[in-house]
């Protein structure tokens, strides 16, 4: 029987699972980690790095390391969100030929699905290594609030990665599947999912017999841990500016270091009351003196900085309960998903809103991938009794005269579904109508997402309003939207199936598929051991080259002598590990090497 893997393609971390012998399990990567950073980098030598290894070298290779690509997938170049991201990103985001987003790495343009495909390919390989055979099919998760374009783009990414994505499901839904799988649960539950890039809330009804029905869902595809990090960065940048009059944002490397440190501080404050952000040699001033950043951040202060973000999520919860027609006390369990739900402020806010303690039984990082694997099994195994009844998260409709948006299928409608409406011509002797298929919640068409368009021609010449056209929207169980328009007089029809909206043409995707395959072959022979060794050796060489300069600069201070002593220790240990071929430990040591190299570069760079 064919294996279907489940992939949680996250903004910050990705995770892969499979159902084995009736039990869903998460598969660890070669480093032993159950989640893999959703990061992709291209090295100077043109080598592609994915996951931990890409994360490790992010600071030294900030311009060619992509993180949080999920925030860009399926979006239009000129959208507000992409413009915001572009100004906050160390890597370069450029406009693609179809008003889509492209990422430029080492002079080559990559579409966002292509970047995501690299991560999916990595997850596929992790699963194949574990299972010992090739895998072709997958269920991939997306935030519930993703629109059709974003879903299509994610599917494209799967195709490029050589995967047949048999179904895209929503992350909170997947979490609920894992939560209810194999248990006799008969409950109405809320899933609160705050990850690195997105927030989702879903209400589901679960029957003890294996039926999962989504009642309503809402969210924000631009609200997640990254935004919490940005608040800390902003605070650090501001206070540094007050003190030294220097804007750290202008320096890409400093920005990447700030980002790392901010996230680290945020995570630490989930378990301790206070932490220190320590970034020596972050930048130099006009007199070429190296400056350090040292700040103490307390939990209350972090909460102050981010309270409004948490409140936004609670408002969304309120909205979705209302949509569901449910009172708070009808929610019988609350499931927390996503790394950000480890933050005490988030936990308290959820608890006080729902007036109940959230469930502690699920693993917030793994539950989504488990659910995806379960759905893969449920779809493909004849014996499976499980069925998932999902909803469409956005309203679908068409543009009508005056630029207004006319709703056909409202949000939170259970799929499959279909709805029809009759429209008329607006001008005299109008022989054609253009149907603009849109998605969104605004009554103004231009504020919604355009999914596709087509023209119905050959209408009878008649006074305005006399020719009637019936428009039917259909969403099938696979979530595919199709629209057809019918001239009610002649019975003539036109239709489209909304597919190619990811900003890529079919040809482009085909090319990418071929390319990705080539790469997969290349990546398989060059082993991770080799990759890590090369990485470590490169870093060691760079550090050694910098030793004399650094010594000269910092020799005077205790701090500097200490740092140099430590650096020598780090290099020596790495050398020993390379010799011994201890790959796992070496991977850890690369972190230390990278930190050292980063610091050295900072010191020398600022001075010379």
């Amino acid at each position: 029987m064919e294996t279907v893997i489940g992939i949680d393609l996250g903004t910050t971390n990705s995770c892969v699972g499979v159902v084995e012998g009736g039990q869903p399990v998460v598969i660890a990567n070669r480093g032993g980690y159950k989640t893999t950073p959703s990061m992709v980098a291209i090295t100077e030598a043109g080598k592609r790095l994915v996951g931990h290894i890409a994360k490790r070298q992010a600071v030294t290779n900030a311009e060619h390391t992509v993180f949080a690509a999920k925030r860009l997938i399926g979006r239009k170049w000129d959208s507000q969100q992409v413009q915001n991201a572009a100004s906050n990103c160390p890597y370069s985001i450029v406009k693609g030929p179809h008003n889509d987003v492209r990422i430029q790495l080492r002079g080559k343009m990559y579409s966002v699905p292509e970047v995501s495909a690299m991560i999916l390919q990595e997850m596929k390989m992790i699963a194949e290594d574990y299972l010992g055979h090739a895998v072709e099919k997958a269920v991939v998760t997306v935030p519930a609030y993703f629109n059709d374009g974003q879903r299509q783009a994610t599917k494209d990414a799967g195709r490029i990665a050589g995967l047949d994505v048999i179904r895209i499901i929503n992350e909170p839904t997947a979490a609920a599947l894992a939560y209810g799988f194999g248990k006799q649960i008969d409950k109405t539950v809320a899933v609160y999912d705050l990850g690195g890039g997105t927030f989702d809330i879903s209400i589901l009804e679960i029957s003890g017999t294996g039926v999962f029905k989504v009642v309503s869902t809402a969210g924000d595809t631009f609200l997640g841990g990254e935004d919490f990090d940005l608040r800390i960065i902003q605070w650090l940048v501001d206070s540094f500016k007050d003190e030294h009059g220097i804007d750290l944002r202008e320096d890409r490397m400093a920005l990447q270091r700030l980002k790392d440190a901010s996230e680290k501080a945020k995570c630490e404050l989930s378990s301790v009351e206070q932490t220190e952000v320590n970034l020596p040699f972050i930048i130099s001033n006009a007199r070429n003196e190296a400056l350090h950043l040292q700040r103490v951040l307390g939990r209350p202060q972090l909460e102050e900085l981010t309270r409004d973000l948490v409140e936004r999520t609670i408002q969304t919860c309120e909205q979705t309960l209302e949509e569901a027609g449910l009172d708070k006390d009808e929610i019988e369990d609350v499931i927390l998903v996503g790394g950000m739900t480890r933050m005490p402020l988030v936990q308290h806010a959820v608890e006080s809103f729902f007036e109940r303690e959230p469930n502690k039984g699920v693993h917030p990082d793994e539950v989504v991938a488990l659910g995806a694997a379960i759905q893969g099994m449920a779809l493909t195994q004849e014996a499976s009794e499980m069925i998932l009844l999902d909803v469409t998260p956005h309203t679908l409709g068409i543009m009508v005269v005056g630029g207004y948006f006319e709703e056909l299928i409202p949000l939170n409608t259970t799929v499959p579904t279909s709805r029809s409406k009759v429209f008329t011509t607006v001008r005299e002797n109008q022989t054609a109508v253009k149907i603009l298929v849109m998605q969104g919640e605004s009554h103004r068409a231009d504020e919604n997402e355009l999914l596709g368009e087509f023209i119905l021609t050959g209408l009878r010449r008649a006074p305005a309003g006399q020719v009637e056209v019936e428009v039917t929207f259909e969403i099938n169980a696979d979530g595919i939207v199709s629209v057809h328009a019918k001239d009610l007089e002649t019975g003539q029809q036109q239709s489209i199936t909304v597919t190619a909206t990811s900003g890529l043409t079919v040809d482009e995707i085909q090319n990418m598929v071929t390319e990705a395959k080539d790469f997969a072959v290349a990546r398989r022979v060059s082993d991770e051991v080799e990759g890590a060794t090369q990485e470590a050796e490169k870093l060691i060489a760079q550090i050694e080259q910098l030793f004399p300069d650094v010594e000269q600069v910092v020799a005077g201070s205790d701090f500097g002598r200490d740092a140099i002593e430590k650096a020598r220790g780090v290099v020596a240990k790495a050398r020993a590990l390379i010799k011994a071929g201890k790959i796992d430990e070496l991977s850890e040591q690369i972190d230390a090497l990278a930190r050292t190299q980063r610091m050295f570069k900072g010191v020398v760079g600022k001075v010379s």
Partner: protein, 509 residues
């Protein structure tokens, strides 16, 4: 041959019987004195069919027959007016009945599913029509929330296409989807207490109106029949063919609206009145279904399966009770077709009594009977008009409840029908007229009617800008720009700052 006279079995709760309108009508005429021939004249049903109906009524234990019956099929010929579902025996609502209503050849279609699965899909698909939401889910009306949920879940598990994921299903897949959609619609309406209450109220309202409407229709029909039988020639009309049951009343398309200046001639001739009518009917049907497959929504009087009776509401039951009783008495009196002033007086007295007891339908019935005896008497005519107006008015209240629910559910075609009835019942109600026009417009319904109602609303309240704008929108939809412009100019005067009016005006130019 001795006259064949059926009689009622006492102590039978007739409201609990699964009867069609026509069967109920026949039953109301059975009184132990009227013969088959009499009843045939009274209800306008041919004797053959009438006998079949009576036999069925006897089977159900509602009537006794004074003659022995031969075995014959109840669903005999000439039965077109019978509603689609007529189970032979009353059944509890919780048991889904599986009469085969599809062409067995459909089972031959190649699909990767078993014969049993195919049968279940086809069976469900072809019995979607005319079911209320409880029937769709196969639950009784009084079950609790959990039972509704598990019924929906169990059915979904089977009918959701994912249950056959990845298999070649041919035309079975869209059929499964259609069934699943209806199930979901039902669950959406019943799964939450407040929504369920709304639906229950709605259901009760439709049932009340449908009982009232049927009785009213019958009263009117009775009078017609009696008038016929009054005429000397009509004595022989037993053999001639009286209309089979009340005609479904269809609005006749009025002549096209006149534009103040000639309309530009179109390239192709506009469709004929016949074509348009057929089209309008077809569209209405489609819209009632709101689906690719013409399914019925709401369960209207004609489509409502009889099993949804008895009516729970006491007062409407009482009303129906007394209406039928009154009718029965009056008809017994006049059924013998021997005129007489004592009988006339009896009718009039009965009408008066009924009216003062608040039984308007009974009063209307009695007056109709009186009119049948003395069609020329002005004061009876006037009284009848007055009372029947009052009946329509009380019906209108129920229709309004219905209309509001339908509106809320976005069932515009159904809402249009209901609002029209409200507007008919309350000709001076500006809001009803406005709503009727609006609903017609939204449903893409008959624009002539929409124009009439919009015009009425505007006449009733000329200073209300929304009325004027609505009329203009109707004109725009009908492509009558000049008229639209005229109205919009009025509207601008009423409210010079409304952006929408100026937009529309722009469109009209």
């Amino acid at each position: 041959m001795a006259p064949r006279v059926p009689s009622l079995v006492s102590g039978v709760n007739v409201y609990a019987l699964p009867l069609s309108t026509k069967e109920g009508f026949v039953l109301s005429r059975v009184d132990g004195s009227a013969s088959v021939e009499d009843i045939s004249i009274m209800v306008g049903v041919k004797q053959d069919e009438l006998l079949a109906i009576l036999e069925r009524l006897a089977e159900l234990g509602a009537v006794k027959l004074s003659w022995s019956t031969v075995q014959r099929s109840v669903a005999g010929s000439g039965n077109a007016a019978r509603p689609p579902v007529t189970p032979a025996k009353p059944k509890p609502a919780a048991v889904p009945e599986p009469p085969v209503r599809y062409d067995p050849r459909e089972l031959d279609e190649v699909a990767a599913i078993s014969l049993e699965v195919k049968k279940r899909i086809l069976g469900a698909y072809y019995s979607l029509e005319g079911k209320d939401y409880y029937q769709l889910l196969g639950v009784a009306r009084d079950v609790d929330k959990k039972a509704i949920r598990s019924a929906y879940f169990e059915l979904s598990r089977f009918f959701h296409p994912d249950s056959q994921f990845g298999k070649e299903l041919g035309s079975f897949k869209p059929k499964m989807e259609s069934v699943f959609k209806r199930l979901t619609e039902a669950y959406d309406a019943l799964g939450r207490a407040p929504r369920r209450k709304e639906y229950d109220d709605y259901l009760a309202a439709t049932e009340r109106t449908s009982v009232l409407q049927q009785t009213l229709d019958q009263v009117q029909h009775d009078t017609e029949m009696l008038r016929h039988s009054q005429a000397p020639a009509a004595a022989a009309s037993v053999q001639s063919e009286p209309p089979a049951g009340p005609e479904p009343r269809r609005a006749v398309m009025p002549p096209p609206l006149a534009e103040t200046t000639p309309v530009q001639i179109s390239m192709r001739p506009p469709p004929s009145a016949e074509e348009r009518k057929a089209y309008a009917r077809d569209r209405l049907r489609r819209q009632l279904g709101g689906d690719s497959k013409p399914a019925s929504w709401p369960p209207t009087a004609e489509q409502r399966p009889v099993s949804s009776f008895p009516v729970s509401n006491e007062s409407s039951k009482d009303r129906r009770d007394s209406a039928i009783k009154g009718l029965r008495q009056s008809l017994r009196a006049s059924g013998h077709a021997t005129g007489g002033s004592d009988r006339l007086l009896a009718h009039l007295k009965q009408a008066k009594d009924a009216e003062s007891a608040g039984d308007l339908l009974g009063a209307a019935g009695a007056l109709q009977s009186a009119l049948a005896l003395e069609p020329e008497r002005k004061e009876i005519q006037e009284q009848y008009e007055r009372v029947s107006k009052a009946v329509t008015r009380s019906l209108a209240d129920n229709y309004e409840k219905q209309a509001r629910y339908e509106e809320k559910m976005g069932k515009w075609a159904a809402a249009a029908l209901s609002w029209e009835r409200v507007a008919e019942g309350r000709p001076e109600d500006e809001y009803a007229a406005h709503s009727a026009a609006e609903a017609l417009l939204k449903a893409g319904g008959d624009l002539h009617k929409a124009q009439r109602y919009a015009q009425r609303a505007a006449d009733l309240q000329p200073s209300r800008v929304t009325n004027v704008v609505l009329l203009a929108r109707v004109y725009l939809a009908a492509g009558l720009r000049l008229n639209a412009r005229r109205e919009l100019e009025k509207a601008v005067k009423l409210d010079p700052h409304d952006e929408m009016i100026s937009n529309l005006l722009h469109e009209a130019r």
